[in-house]
Symmetry: C2
Subunit: 129 residues, 2 copies
């Protein structure tokens, strides 16, 4: 699946200055727009459950045919939610024969976790550039 | 300000079983509904910037009069966004005289960060592929 529709999270030009840290320095507008797209994708109970089912699957990936039965929703509705998760860069997928298989992109959840993590109080003298 | 309209994040009955961990075990429906409300509150660039401005303020709290000038938005619109953040349990506030003062409720962002954190597996060792 193509990357071009993905949202870039925590892009910030520099080296591996991955995560500005929402709680440390005021976000600029562009960072806020990027991050908000990902949080918005998580702002729905069905999508959260789908993400959780995919992320917690032992083998690391899940057939869409194993996701749908958990919901009282049509296959197209489930597919739409999965598409939004994919566009947010939270999951990726691959078609194999009849079915599509999904897996977590942990870089994105890692970044969100980092962005929401408070700097260790007292020991803040780490990052800056 | 009352607590009763707040969303409970990561409530899970047991002891201090704070965070089920979105990535570890499939969320149940109730957990997903609770969590989704908080992520939805974060799913807007203006609210993210407001939260970030509040959280990163040195003194720990911010007068609404210092928040509004950063946006091309009316005071009522800003107040509405702040109300949604408050209802999500992300911030709290107090009126003092003319102005309302806001501060972060770090328990909520801590919980979100925990929920998004992978159990220590190969955690973050994948820096430069």
């Amino acid at each position: 699946m193509s990357n071009q529709e993905r949202v870039a999270v925590g892009r910030s030009g520099g080296a591996d200055a991955c995560c500005p840290g929402l709680l440390t320095v005021p976000l600029d507008e562009e960072q806020a727009v990027d991050l908000a797209k990902v949080f918005k994708a998580l702002g729905d109970p069905v999508r959260l459950r789908l993400l959780s089912m995919i992320a917690s699957r032992a083998g690391g990936e899940v057939c869409v045919c194993d996701l749908t039965p958990a919901f009282d929703l049509s296959q197209p509705t489930i597919s739409h939610h999965l598409k939004l998760l994919r566009q947010a860069g939270l999951i990726d997928c691959e078609r194999r024969g009849t079915w599509v298989y999904y897996w977590l992109l942990p870089e994105t959840t890692d970044r969100l976790a980092a962005v929401l993590t408070r700097p260790a109080q007292g020991a803040t003298a780490e990052a800056a550039g």
